[in-house]
């Protein structure tokens, strides 16, 4: 039984394919960063991608919304084939939310303006409606009272939660997280992870690049281990952590869980 078939029996995960990547390759100049990536993500799945630095995990999820261009293979997101056609790229980007390691909030706009910008300009939503939606999501990430401040006035954890709210305001069907807690102080990591957990409970399709193994155990229904641009091992979190198959995975887990 393949991985995808096994997943479809889990409640909350549908048969519908959200992302399908086949035979994807990417080079930076002569350097072969991603090699023959095959990955199918069902709607509602929560996937954690881990691996040593330089293994290509960030590059993989950045290819999904075309922040990086892949050179070979196919990526289909939500039924739209990712090609060099700008129309398709913009369509996919407006359906796929993304959170970055360094938040990347717009420092010249208030928190509320950060959240309403894309709905107003991309979705052509009236300002009032966009603000209502923004306030709804700011309440969801528990910082509605900061709406009129600027990003520079907020703590790192608060900024990352705003970044999550900003993505949610576009009502994305898929969320990508690129090491969302790596730039945060330990005490702030929890508030961001809590937000992500509640997002997972709502059934969002999520792909997270993260080193938070506790989060992976609690939330993920699949953990993918990457090394040297390839998918080395993927499994359900219980199996993955307690019974890793490949040597490379065992070494990696012993290094990050050993201390």
């Amino acid at each position: 039984m393949s991985m995808a078939e096994a997943q479809s029996n889990v409640p909350g995960i549908s048969d519908e394919v959200a992302i399908s990547i086949t035979g994807m390759n990417k080079w930076y100049g002569d350097f072969h960063v991603l090699r023959d990536i095959d990955l199918t993500v069902q709607r509602g799945e929560r996937i954690v991608i881990c691996g040593p630095s330089g293994s290509g995990k960030s590059t993989l999820i950045r290819c999904i919304n075309a922040l990086e261009e892949h050179q070979k293979g196919e990526i289909v997101v939500d039924g739209t084939l990712l090609s060099s056609d700008l129309k398709n790229i913009d369509k996919i980007r407006s359906e796929v939310g993304m959170c970055f390691q360094h938040f990347n909030l717009f420092p010249h706009l208030t928190i509320l303006e950060n959240c309403t910008l894309a709905p107003i300009w991309v979705r052509k939503m009236p300002k009032k409606e966009a603000e209502e939606i923004a306030m709804h999501y700011l309440e969801k990430v528990k910082i509605p009272d900061q709406a009129n401040k600027y990003p520079g006035q907020l703590s790192g954890g608060q900024q990352q939660r705003v970044a999550i709210a900003r993505s949610l305001c576009m009502r994305p069907r898929i969320m990508l997280f690129d090491e969302p807690t790596s730039a945060l102080d330990p005490e702030m990591i929890k508030e961001v992870l809590d937000t992500m957990v509640s997002l997972a409970e709502d059934g969002m399709t999520m792909l997270c690049v993260t080193h938070e193994m506790g989060f992976a155990r609690q939330v993920a229904n699949r953990v993918i281990f990457m090394d040297a641009g390839q998918i080395v091992e993927q499994n359900e979190p219980e199996e993955f952590f307690n019974n890793p198959k490949s040597d490379r995975t065992q070494l990696f887990l012993s290094q990050i869980l050993g201390h």
């Binding site: 913009d90 980007r93 360094h102 990347n104 717009f106 420092p107 520079g152």
Partner: protein, 439 residues
């Protein structure tokens, strides 16, 4: 029991100490002087030296101002009347300083145009100004042209119609195809202006309705004033304001073009910037004055002020492009990625995210270029245009005022200082207002 307190650590306060003023040496002007002028021996010596130099300056310059003469026929009479400055020359020649050889009875027209400049600039410079004033801003170039150069209103109106047409086309296409809309509307604008607009058809139709001022009385027409009669501070302001307002958008587009992935656009922009920056402004002005006529079809007349404006604009735009590129390069890549990942297209990302931040970073550099440009306009005196410095020459040659220098150049310097200082102050205000990073 009086020694109890000395032996125990425990302590409870029973009465509040009332608030008292700081000692006399820590208050008001004494404190300020001590901290700012006499905080150390070296500082005290420097302060005293500075005070001494300022005193010497006032001692010599003061009487020159106090004993100045404002009414005299010539320099000799000035010297007889009083020992100080001879401002009589400015009193006699100020119309030339302000207007060049603009006809005396028509001078109210440039003055009115200057007054209209304030409501036109207000909504651009200050976001508290009513937005309705933007109408004045948009119409100002056409009204100012009509007021200063005169003639029938048909010409500026025909040109304005071209802009309206281009805007309507852009508006219709912008929703679906922003880049194509920009290119098409610019093409329409250029074609219109070259083929039917200012040059002929539309102007003639309008002239037919209003009457041609050359044939007799006409509606909405002033006496024409030729460009060579426009001079002085009026010329400086025309060149400075027109070039500044054209150079900024062109400079921004050049900077974006230089970063573009479209290889042809990129190299056109790079070529333009590097060529213009590599050539002295005086060379460009000579090209505008002499050589341009050879490149244009025979018989085309091309107003000299317009030619100079084009050259000065190109020069400033090339410098601005590099200043703005510096601002663009200073933005973290994450800002571009965040804008992209939200699904904003190129023009939206530039307009909403990238340029507001890049321009804010570049404000000091941009204003630097503007101030430089404003002062560089005096270079037109070498192609025999009568800017304020050009006006000084015939006065110096006049036997009545032969030998007077300080008053004339000082007056010109004062004018430039007022405008340049205003620009500098505005840029500081803008930086303060846009400071949202809370560092």
């Amino acid at each position: 029991m009086s020694d109890t307190h000395a032996n125990t650590v425990a302590f409870v306060r029973e009465t509040q100490i009332p608030q008292s003023p700081p000692p006399a040496t820590e208050r008001g002007i004494v404190k300020w002087l001590r901290e700012n002028m006499f905080s150390s021996v070296l500082n005290s010596i420097l302060s005293l030296l500075s005070i001494f130099f300022i005193f010497m300056l006032i001692k010599d310059l003061g009487p020159w101002f106090w004993n100045s003469t404002w009414n005299a026929e010539n320099l000799a009479e000035c010297r007889e009347l009083n020992s100080g400055a001879c401002f009589a020359v400015i009193n006699e020649r100020w119309p030339q300083f302000f207007f060049g050889f603009y006809p005396a009875e028509e001078r109210w027209r440039p003055v009115l145009a200057f007054l209209l400049l304030f409501p036109a600039l207000a909504p651009v410079l200050f976001d508290k100004a009513p937005r309705a004033l933007l109408v004045v801003t948009l119409l100002f170039p056409f009204v100012a042209y009509w007021l200063i150069w005169g003639g029938s209103i048909a010409f500026p109106l025909a040109v304005l119609l071209g802009f309206v047409l281009a805007f309507v086309i852009w508006k219709a296409l912008a929703k679906t195809q922003p880049t194509i809309a920009l290119i098409v509307s610019v093409l329409v604008l250029v074609l219109y202006q070259l083929v039917v607009g200012g040059a002929g058809l539309v102007e003639n139709i309008l002239m037919g309705i209003l009457g041609n001022p050359e044939d007799g009385p006409a509606l909405l027409a002033f006496e024409e004033v030729e460009s060579r009669n426009i001079g002085g501070f009026l010329l400086t302001l025309i060149l400075g304001i027109t070039s500044i307002s054209l150079a900024l958008p062109i400079g921004i587009l050049l900077a974006l073009g230089r970063q573009s992935d479209l290889i042809i656009i990129k190299y056109i922009c790079v070529g333009f910037i590097e060529f213009i920056r590599g050539v002295p402004l005086i060379t460009l002005l000579f090209v505008a004055n002499v050589l341009l006529a050879y490149f244009l079809p025979p018989g085309t007349t091309f107003d000299l002020i317009l030619r100079v404006v084009i050259m000065v604009t190109a020069f400033a735009a090339a410098y601005l492009a590099e200043v703005v590129r510096g601002g663009l390069a200073a933005l973290p890549r994450g800002q571009y990625e965040a804008a992209d990942s939200l699904g904003l297209d190129y023009w939206q990302a530039m307009q909403l995210i990238i340029l507001p931040q890049a321009l804010k970073i570049s404000i000091p550099g941009i204003v630097n270029v503007f101030i430089g440009l404003f002062k560089d306009t005096v270079l037109v005196s070498i192609i025999s245009m009568y800017d304020p410095l050009g006006i000084v020459q015939p006065i110096l040659a006049d036997s009545d005022w032969n030998g007077i220098l300080w008053e004339l150049y000082g007056f010109v310097a004062l004018f430039f200082f007022i405008f340049c200082y205003a620009m500098s102050q505005y840029s500081r205000y803008l930086e303060q207002k846009l400071r949202t990073d809370h560092r």
